[in-house]
């Protein structure tokens, strides 16, 4: 079944690449929504329902970890799986994301295979 996805990254290039990679990875894509930071993501989620969120960490206005915390403390959004896709590869950041409830963590740069592997079992 096709899944509607929200991609949150301040880089338009990465948002485009992720859409392409998801297609290459044969992820059953429905609608793909985009947001440039956590604030935009929350605004988008107030009007759109999605089955998966892919989010960067380092973003202006509201970073990915703050967004993750807000999602997990919102009844209507807490069950949406969130996969962090970021250059932040340090163990402390990974642990922080996992403790906040991230369903997965992918380090940039990434390959289509890595994204596919991470999403198997999540969607």
């Amino acid at each position: 079944m096709a899944v509607d996805i929200l991609i949150v990254d301040d880089s338009a290039a990465i948002r485009k690449i992720l859409q392409r990679v998801l297609l290459q990875a044969e992820v059953p894509l429905g609608k793909v929504h985009e947001a440039g930071d956590g604030v935009e993501a929350l605004a988008k989620l107030s009007v759109e329902k999605v089955g998966l969120i892919l989010s960067d960490i380092n973003m202006p206005n509201m970073d990915g970890l703050e967004l993750l915390g807000k999602l997990k403390s919102t009844d209507t959004l807490k069950d949406v799986p969130v996969v962090m896709i970021t250059t932040e590869g340090g163990q402390a950041k990974v642990l922080e994301a996992v403790n906040l409830g991230a369903a997965g963590y992918v380090r940039k740069p990434f390959t289509a295979e890595q994204i596919k592997e991470k999403l198997v079992g999540i969607i």
Partner: protein
């Protein structure tokens, strides 16, 4: 405890991070040339320059510099689109290349020295501009050949406690109290 990274060590980390980004995200190869150190006071004067700041036990700046032609080529490889002129997509792509290279480098530094933080990348494009670093430290410069064109990855890192060393003569660090 002093925090520092030798030039050769930094060159190796830059080389690995850059090659990883090229092979995984750009489907290409970045061939490293002979590295050098340069006075940070004078930087590139034209082309596309992406800057990313680092802070933590070590502080500094990393940059990726290339010609507009190579910037278009990199963006094209990343986004599977042909670009003939530098536009927002191209600047965004070069900023993201810098973010990934410096971000990967940061992760290897964190393993050794502790948590570090990255700034959001800033990308500059133009001609006849002047770039100047406030630091008096030398920059490590690693040139790479990509598709027959040159790109440079530059970085300087110094111990955070050495903040006063970052300032050029005549500039003052203001302190509370």
């Amino acid at each position: 405890m002093r925090f520092s990274i030798a030039h050769e060590d930094l060159v190796e980390r830059i080389t690995i991070a850059t090659r990883d980004v090229f092979s995984m995200m750009l489907g290409g190869e970045a061939v490293p040339g002979a590295s050098r150190t340069e006075d940070g006071g004078v930087g590139p004067t034209e082309g596309v320059v992406a800057l990313v700041g680092l802070t933590g036990p070590l502080v500094g700046t990393g940059s990726v510099c290339c010609s507009p032609e190579l910037a278009c080529r990199l963006a094209g490889q990343m986004l599977m689109t042909e670009y003939h002129a530098v536009d927002n997509d191209v600047l965004d792509a070069v900023g993201e290349v810098a973010n990934m290279i410096i971000g990967n480098l940061k992760t290897t530094i964190e393993d050794q020295f502790g948590a570090m933080w990255l700034s959001v990348p800033t990308v500059v494009y133009g001609r006849n501009f002047t770039t100047r670093s406030m630091g008096r430290h030398n920059w490590t410069v690693v040139p790479f050949t990509c598709d027959g064109m040159e790109m440079q990855v530059q970085m300087f890192l110094t111990e955070a406690n050495d903040l006063t060393k970052l300032m050029r003569p005549g500039l003052t660090v203001l302190q509370k109290g």
